[in-house]
C-alpha cells in the first residue's frame, strides 16, 4: 500500500500496464517530455522511449484518429486530450469512427482505446479549462464513460478500461488530482466498470453523484449530520441502474449532484430512470443540484460550482416535502 494522490495513482497504473503489455502506447500533447500538463504520464518517456510515449502535434482529431487506426491494427493506445474542453475537434472521430467501428463492421474491427482527459472546474481555468462535457459522450452508444472520484477508483478503473476491447472515455476530475492522498494497493487491481459505489448508507435521502462532486457531497452530509445514502456512480455509461433504483426505493427522496449544466445532464437520465422504475416509492420530487446553464465563468467559478450550501438547501427541501 502507498499513500498517493489521483495523479500518482493513474501514473502507476499506466506504468505497470506498459511494463507488462508492449501493445500499449501513450500519446497526446506534451505527454512525453513534459509528462503531461498535469504530470499523469510523468517519466514514462524515459522508461519506455518515444516509440511508445508519443508527443503529438497540436491536433486533437489527429490524436484520436491516429489512435483509432492503431487500435484497429493491434495496438492498445492510451490517448490524452489535454483538457476535455479541447476534445471537440476530435468529436467526429469519437462519435463516427471510434464509437461505431465494432457495430458498423459487424464486429470485425474493434477500437480498444482509452481516451483520458481532465474535466471540470475549480482550478481557475475559465471557459476553456473547466467544462464538464460528459453528456456529449454518454449520449453515444458504443462508448463507455467512466469518472473516478478518488485515487483508488482511478487506479482500478484505468486497469479495467485498458482490459476492455472497446473504447473508453476516461474523465479525470482535475480538481481532485492532488486534493487527497489515500491508501492504494501497489499491485494492479480492477474496479468494475458499470458498478457504482455506495459511499455511505443512510435512510432519509439518497444523494447520487460522481466525479469531482463526490468530496463536496460527502463533506456536506457529514458536516450537517444528514442521514443520507450517498452513491458514487463511477461509470456514467452504462450507469448502474440497480444501484440507482435500489437507493431511490429505499429512501424515497433523491437529490442528484453534478458539476455539468443541468439541461440534459446526467442527472436528467438518472431522474428518468427513477421515474420509469420507482415512481411509486417517491416521497418527494427529485431535485438536481448542478452547474448552471451558462458557459463556465472565470471570476466567479465558486458560484458556478455546486457547494455545501446549495446541496444542503436541496436536501432540506426534499426532506421537508
Amino acid at each position: 500500500m502507498s499513500q498517493i494522490n489521483l495523479v500518482q495513482s493513474l501514473n502507476r497504473s499506466i506504468d505497470q500496464l506498459m511494463a507488462q503489455d508492449e501493445r500499449i502506447v501513450v500519446m497526446g500533447e506534451d505527454v512525453g517530455r513534459d509528462g503531461g500538463v498535469f504530470r499523469v504520464t510523468d517519466n514514462l518517456l524515459n522508461k519506455y522511449g518515444d516509440e511508445r510515449v508519443i508527443d503529438t502535434p497540436l491536433n486533437e482529431l489527429a490524436i484520436i484518429g491516429m489512435a483509432t487506426g492503431m487500435a484497429m491494427y493491434g495496438l492498445k493506445p492510451i490517448a490524452e486530450i489535454q483538457f476535455q474542453d479541447y476534445i471537440f475537434p476530435a468529436f467526429d472521430q469519437i462519435v463516427n469512427n471510434v464509437a461505431k467501428m465494432r457495430y458498423r463492421t459487424g464486429g470485425r474491427f474493434t477500437v480498444p482505446l482509452v481516451i483520458r482527459t481532465p474535466y471540470g472546474g475549480g482550478v481557475k481555468g475559465g471557459l476553456y479549462h473547466s467544462q464538464s462535457g460528459e453528456s456529449y459522450f454518454v449520449h453515444t452508444a458504443g462508448l463507455t464513460v467512466v469518472t473516478p472520484s478518488n485515487p483508488y477508483d482511478a487506479r482500478g478503473l484505468l486497469v479495467s478500461a485498458y482490459k476492455k476491447n472497446d473504447p473508453v472515455i476516461f474523465l479525470e476530475p482535475k480538481r481532485l488530482y492532488r486534493a487527497v492522498k489515500t491508501e492504494v494497493p501497489d499491485e494492479l487491481f480492477e474496479v468494475e466498470i458499470g458498478k457504482a459505489a455506495r459511499l455511505k448508507e443512510g435512510d432519509d435521502v439518497s444523494i447520487i453523484t460522481y466525479g469531482s462532486m463526490v468530496p463536496t457531497v460527502m463533506n456536506a452530509v457529514e458536516k450537517n449530520g444528514v442521514n443520507a445514502e450517498v452513491t458514487d456512480l463511477r461509470t456514467l455509461l452504462p450507469m448502474d441502474v440497480s444501484a440507482i433504483i435500489q437507493t431511490a426505493k429505499k429512501t424515497g427522496r433523491v437529490v442528484i449532484v453534478h458539476e455539468a449544466p443541468k439541461t440534459l445532464g446526467v442527472g436528467a437520465e438518472i431522474s428518468a430512470l427513477i421515474a420509469e422504475r420507482a415512481i411509486d416509492s417517491l416521497l418527494a420530487p427529485i431535485v438536481r443540484v448542478t452547474g448552471y446553464d451558462t458557459p463556465f465563468p472565470y471570476s466567479h467559478e465558486e458560484l458556478y460550482l455546486p457547494d455545501e450550501k446549495r446541496i444542503m438547501s436541496a436536501v432540506n427541501r426534499v426532506l421537508a416535502y
Binding site: G65, Y73, G106, N165
Partner: protein
C-alpha cells in the same frame, strides 16, 4: 510489383476485364436501385483506371483504406461480386450484418479496412494503421483513396502532417474526379491538390487517372518511394465522375457532362482502343468480355437476392463486445423476434 515497361498482355487483359466488370456492375446496381432492389449507390463510373492501377501495384500485405467510390479497386484485388452484392443488399451473408449503407464496404479478408460516410474521416486512421504496422514489424505499406472534396477537410491535413512527422509509409491517392457532389474542384480549392503535401514535407505528383499506363507509371514512382521507407507520398489522379455523385442527385442540375459512358474519352474505351491497336485483343474479345460481365453480374445478383435478410434482432449486437443492460433491455422491449 513493378509493371511499367513490362506490362504483360495477360495483365493488361485482366485490367481491361475488371474495368468492364466494374462498369457493368455500376450500371446494374443503378438499375437495381431504380427498381427498389438496392437502396442507394455511389457509382465509380469513369474512375476505373486509377483504381485498377492501384490494385495492380498493391501487394497482398499492403493495407488499403478506400472511400465509398472504389468498385474497380475491389474487383482488381479479387473481391467476388457476390460479396459486393451481399453488402449492398444487406442480406444475412453481409459481413457487416446489414449495418451500413451500400458502398460502405469492409473487405478485411482482402486487406481492405472499412468505409465511413463522413468524408476524409478515414485519413487519420491510415496514419495509426501505418504506425501499428511499423511497430509490429509487419511487411507492407498503407494506401488510401479519397476524393477532391476530402482535401478540404481537417482530417486530410491532420493525416498528412502526422504521416510526415512520424515518417510513415502511407500512400495518399486523391481520385480527383472534378466534382464533390455539385461543387467543381475549382470551387473546392485554388491550389493544385498534389502540391498540398509540400506544406507537410510530402512529395506529390499528378497522374492521368483516366489512362491505365499513365496511372501505372505515376503510381510506380510513388509506391517505390513509400516502400523504400522515405515517408508518405501524395498522388493526385485526374479523373472524371461520369455519373452522378449518387443515385440521389441529377448532375444535369449543376453541370454539363464532359465525358459520357462509352464515348471516345471514356477511360475504358481508351484502354480498349489501345489494346485493339496493339493487337492484344480484337473486337470479338470486346463483345465477349462485355457479354460475360453482364451474364456474371445478372446471375450473381439474382442468386444473392434469394439469400435471407439479416436477423432483425442483430441490430442490438456489436455495440460492445458484451452488451450492457441498456441494449439487452431495449432488445427485450423492442419485440424484435430472435
Amino acid at each position: 510489383m513493378t509493371l511499367v515497361g513490362n506490362l504483360s498482355d495477360d495483365q493488361a487483359i485482366l485490367a481491361y476485364k475488371n474495368a468492364v466488370r466494374a462498369r457493368t456492375l455500376d450500371l446494374k446496381i443503378i438499375s437495381a436501385q431504380r427498381q427498389g432492389i438496392i437502396g442507394f449507390h455511389v457509382p465509380s463510373e469513369g474512375q476505373e483506371m486509377i483504381q485498377i492501377a492501384i490494385g495492380m501495384l498493391a501487394d497482398k500485405e499492403d493495407l488499403i483504406f478506400t472511400y465509398y467510390r472504389d468498385l474497380a479497386l475491389y474487383l482488381q484485388r479479387g473481391v467476388p461480386i457476390s460479396l459486393i452484392f451481399d453488402q449492398m443488399l444487406g442480406n444475412s451473408n453481409d459481413l457487416q450484418k446489414g449495418r451500413q449503407m451500400p458502398d460502405h464496404f469492409s473487405f478485411k479478408e482482402f486487406n481492405f479496412s472499412t468505409v465511413q460516410s463522413p468524408v476524409g474521416a478515414h485519413l487519420p486512421l491510415t496514419v495509426g494503421a501505418a504506425y501499428a504496422m511499423r511497430y509490429n514489424k509487419r511487411k507492407g505499406i498503407v494506401i488510401t483513396t479519397f476524393g477532391d472534396g476530402a482535401t478540404s477537410t481537417s482530417d486530410f491535413h491532420a493525416a498528412l502532417n502526422m504521416a510526415s512527422v512520424y515518417n510513415l509509409s502511407v500512400l495518399f491517392v486523391c481520385e480527383n474526379n472534378g466534382w464533390a457532389i455539385s461543387i467543381p474542384t475549382s470551387k473546392q480549392t485554388r491550389a493544385d491538390i498534389y502540391k498540398k503535401g509540400a506544406a507537410y514535407g510530402i512529395p506529390g505528383k499528378r497522374v492521368d487517372g483516366n489512362d491505365l499506363i499513365s496511372s501505372l507509371a505515376g503510381l510506380q514512382e510513388a509506391f517505390d518511394y513509400v516502400r523504400s521507407g522515405k515517408g508518405p507520398y501524395l498522388v493526385e489522379a485526374s479523373t472524371y465522375r461520369i455519373g452522378p455523385h449518387s443515385t440521389s442527385d441529377d448532375p444535369k442540375k449543376y453541370r454539363v457532362d464532359e465525358i459520357t459512358d462509352g464515348s471516345e474519352k471514356d477511360p475504358i474505351r481508351r484502354l480498349e482502343n489501345l489494346l485493339l491497336t496493339m493487337g492484344v485483343i480484337d473486337s470479338g474479345f470486346v463483345q465477349s468480355t462485355r457479354a460475360q460481365a453482364k451474364e456474371e453480374i445478372d446471375k450473381t445478383l439474382e442468386e444473392r437476392m434469394s439469400i435471407t435478410p439479416s436477423n432483425p434482432s442483430t441490430i442490438f449486437d456489436d455495440v460492445y463486445e458484451n452488451s450492457s443492460w441498456i441494449q439487452e433491455e431495449e432488445r427485450r422491449d423492442s419485440n424484435v423476434a430472435d
